[in-house]
Amino acid sequence: MVGITSYGAYIPLQRINRKIIANATGWSTSATSLPGEKAVANYDEDSVTMALAASTDCLTGFERNKVGGLYFATTTPPYRERQSAGIITTALDLRPDIRAADFTDSVKAGTHALLAACDAVKAGSEKNIVVCASDCRLGRPGSAQEVIFGEGGAALMVGDTDVIATLEGSYTLTYDFTDQWRADGEKFNRIWEDRWVRDEGYTKFIPEAINGLLKKYKLNIKDFAKVVIPCIYLREHQGITKALQLDEKQVQKEMLTTVGDTGTANSLMMLVAALEDAKPGDKILVTSYGNGADAMFFQVTDHIEKARNRRGIKKHLASRKDLANYERYLSFRDVIPMEAGFRGEVGPTRLALAWRERRTILALCGVRCKHCGTPQYPSQRVCVNPKCGKIDEMEYYRFSDKKAKLFSYTSDVLAYSVSPPEMYGVLDFEGGGRYAFNITDCVMESLAVDMLMEMSFRRKYVDSVRGIHGYFWKAVPPRA
């Protein structure tokens, strides 16, 4: 049987209360009265970094060498040509001889990727495919979309061994329904009239997909412990669940008021939340929406108990910090072009070097001396241990998944940062090894010498002269 063998998720730390957005832009339009808050990716995060974080959560306890594929779903990739899935596989330190693919152009791509992964495993083409999804869509300041969109990521591993939720069936609808869209080269999403979107799309396609699935497999909606319906309008979400005659406890809680509409990750994040609470025997129905609708259902197995130690949705929801400033939020995605000064200029990236050092840079791999056992970063040929110094007796050693103690640190207002102050410190890794890294997602007051930190994959810089997004790792206080 084929299905989900693990799950993971990621929600960025900062949350902005929608009232703050309304206060800032309400003079321009009658902003939507949507309550709650939305999750905001930091300036150094994007769809790739968030998908990687979710995938790392999903791969807890799993040997990276055994991953047979990685599918990444997003409508906001950093490049139009350069495989984002390849950046993620390299950063996860996966084997190169695996299938990697980007699924894009529709917020339904998350479930496209999930179904494609199940098909591939079922056909015997690959085993252990990680499906990850994340989006960083932008609505114009003052738009309803700015209020609705949120940022986050989800990841599911698909396989045929120790399956925690088997894929039992699917029903998909493809409609060129252009309710929301964004042409090549455009920065902001567009949307047609809300009323039309709700009446002709959202409230029609989802029930059509669900009913199609029920009919195809001769099921009753009452059979399901949880039904995942992506929420992009609160009232209509309720309307759909009522029309389907769902019990309240069957409805997977919406995340619009706590995270926002996360695009390709939307339904998959809700699926992860459902799996966190699922019991063996539960049937879970998952729908997605965007240029049509997908519907599929899973059967939870006994193995679900083995997959409880994930950060998933719950722990990420609880780990939060208020972003109280609307202008700062706009600066994260360069919506307002803040003055960077000379220090904001970035020197050119040398791609031949970046390729040769890809394991050092993207996977945070150093080496360990086979002679004295000292881990060291970055990769060296001559052992750094003053009592050893052996040449060429090294083996690869991964630092990305190691925790580290903060040996010393500072908070710097001179160094350029989109979100000052720039913080950095010296990290002593558990097991050995030391290096200095930037620190993100915290304030200086929360740092202390010897506190435990973990590593987080971030977009460290953008080389706008040569059109290159530069990724590297930063240290963060552990999220959970």
Binding site: E345, G347, Y409, E422
Partner: protein, 401 residues
């Protein structure tokens, strides 16, 4: 065991420009100014110089370009051997070291070392951003933290305060005393960039640059040039009656261990410590605290100077605060440090600083230090640090009668 450099080389002339934001001076102007003073002081002519070394790191390469050609063609040196050497902020000392070895080896009779820097053409307040200027190399731009010099040295302070149980408030006061003392000395020095007394309170309350370092804990960036003319010791008295002799030239470069191995404690600088040990052995100094009369050290940041006093064995480990607060290193103290105002107030034109430090020691030993003159100094020590505490090249030079 090699006998070392002690008493093999003499300094017979030196020059040093004013340091500051010298908007109307080109790097060529600065080189010529330092050179003129040096050959006048030595009472020699240009044609007597048989080899020359220029100290200049990345930033002067930006203004002048690479190689020895800028120095040679500006001074119109007549086809003699000229070399540009580089070791970040220790480049000036590196040039001096090369010139000394040349005459000590008998490769030539008279050699010159000149350091120059034109930082104020870069358009930055502070050192230029590392991403454009490859002082740290292209790979380090990607995997190295986005950081500045103040921040990298600030991490010394965080760890030092923690290890020795110094509260942030007391720590800030200790650092402030270091800078206040240098400001007092700089105010007495007509060539210094900053010539204003500043109080402890002003320093402690100044805006933070990189915690815990504030504005007055950081030296500024300056333009300037300095030059030294050296010859073999047995020739020195032909040129003047009061040459100054080189007692020791030592440098130490990081092994990489501070950065990547967990032994390094971030409360001292290993390169300074090792270079100093070798320098004292070479010069025959048994008790540095008693014998080194005066010093010019690399006070790029106040914490650097504090920690350096311990690395140089002037103060016991963990105890420099007592010595700083009791005024030991003040101009009227037992072991004056930065009599000319230091990097903090004289200024820090990177390629020139190492030679400027020697200039002050030279003038003090000759009794020509004017309002800053110390009484009967015997040995002067310069400490020049290129890089950051955990990745550095340090030069220690000791001079005397």
């Amino acid at each position: 065991m090699a006998p070392g450099i002690k008493d093999k080389v003499a300094i017979i002339g030196m020059g040093c420009t004013r340091f500051g934001e010298l908007w109307d001076k080109s790097p060529e102007d600065l080189m010529v100014d330092a050179f003129k003073e040096a050959i006048d002081d030595a009472k020699i002519e240009k044609k007597d110089i048989q080899a020359a070394w220029q100290g200049g790191p990345e930033f002067v390469a930006v203004s002048l370009g690479d190689s020895a050609c800028p120095l040679a063609e500006t001074l119109k040196l007549p086809y003699i051997p000229v070399t540009r050497v580089e070791n970040m902020c220790a480049s000036g000392s590196e040039a001096f070291r090369a010139a000394c070895y040349a005459v000590a080896a008998g490769a030539c009779d008279i050699a010159m070392a000149l350091g120059v820097e034109k930082l104020k053409d870069t358009g930055y307040g502070g050192l230029p951003e590392f991403s454009h200027y490859s002082t740290i190399g292209v790979k380090n731009r990607i995997i190295g933290a986005n950081q500045t010099a103040p921040g990298m040295f600030a991490m010394l302070a965080t760890r030092y305060f923690g290890r020795y149980g110094i509260s942030p408030q007391d720590g800030k006061k200790m650092l402030a005393a270091v800078s206040a003392k240098s400001h007092h000395n700089g105010a007495l020095n007509p060539k210094a960039h900053l010539r204003r007394e500043v109080t402890i309170e002003q320093i402690v309350n100044a805006p933070i640059v990189a915690w815990p370092l504030g504005l007055f804990d950081c030296c500024g960036v300056s333009d300037g040039s300095a030059a030294a003319i050296v010859c073999r010791a047995d020739m020195a008295k032909q040129f003047r009656s009061d040459p100054v002799y080189v007692k020791s030239l030592q440098i130490a470069a990081t092994s990489g261990a501070e950065q990547m191995y967990t032994d390094y404690d971030y409360t001292h600088v290993e390169t300074t410590t090792r270079a100093a040990e070798r320098a004292y052995a070479e010069a025959g100094i048994k008790n540095p605290r008693e014998e080194i009369s005066m010093s010019e050290v690399h006070d790029c940041f106040s914490i650097t100077e504090a920690v350096t006093m311990e690395d140089l064995q002037f103060s016991p480990r963990g105890k420099v605060m007592d010595d700083i607060m009791s005024g030991r290193f003040n101009l009227d103290g037992a072991q004056p440090c930065q009599p000319d105002g230091g990097l903090k107030c004289f200024g820090h034109p990177i390629g020139a600083s190492g030679i400027r430090m020697i200039y002050e020691m030279y003038k003090q030993l000759q009794g020509k230090a004017d309002k800053r003159q110390l009484k009967n100094p015997k040995y002067g020590l310069t400490h020049n640090l290129g890089g950051i505490p955990y990745r550095s090249v340090v030069s220690i030079i000791i001079v005397g009668h």
